[in-house]
Symmetry: C2
Subunit: 151 residues, 2 copies
Amino acid sequence: MTEHEGYMARALELAQEALAEGEVPVGCVIVWEDGRIVGEGRNRREAEGDALGHAELEAISMACKTLGGWRLHRAKLYVTLEPCPMCAGAILNARIPAVYYGAKDESMGSCGSVLNLFEEDFGHHPRLYGCILEEKCVQLLQDFFAKMRKK
Amino acid sequence: MTEHEGYMARALELAQEALAEGEVPVGCVIVWEDGRIVGEGRNRREAEGDALGHAELEAISMACKTLGGWRLHRAKLYVTLEPCPMCAGAILNARIPAVYYGAKDESMGSCGSVLNLFEEDFGHHPRLYGCILEEKCVQLLQDFFAKMRKK
């Protein structure tokens, strides 16, 4: 397992927690340049009834608190699902320079699927790495939607 | 003063509060279909050291709490500055159908300036109204940046 897969495996654990509570299984981990995990998050939209309850936002907010400031310019973000426009925008606002994701999101993905916010003219262009532990990330989402269809 | 200008005037009061605390002056108000203000927010990025500290996110999160759910599908959002990609994405996620803004944002604006997320293929297309009390919204921002330059 590579270093990147190791962090994605932790994001997958968080996604599992979301799945166990009936949320779309998405998990996120933010890693500082020294290798420390400084932020973690998972989807909590239904439990909290909050449109902002995405994994990346929770992880970014926690990382800002951990580090005492809003500039995460030496961090890497790992997330099991390609970020939506809100979360990709938050990554830009936090100046995160590198993003690793697992599964593509054809309906909301804003790092290459519907569009790519990191290539637009916002003055910040995070490096982007897709398909990290992709099969496991996709499987978890398929498990969730299969469960939903049975209900 | 029209109804829309009335709500924008309240958003401007919130922006003034931000200015008084040394934040970029942006304020936001969310109004339910019955005319009630269900969410308010203002920029708090520097005070909270949080990249998510934008006016719209605070207002959306408050409106979700007020209404007890993440679907703001009968709300209007008023904000003094054109939303950035994170906030425009949050508006999409919350299914807000109508957005009124004051000043354009040439560097981060994602409702027509840099791009328009509401015209992209995300399956939700909020109606968009710009230039509400535009002069006052612009003036407040100019006051802030003049103060910054003096420092």
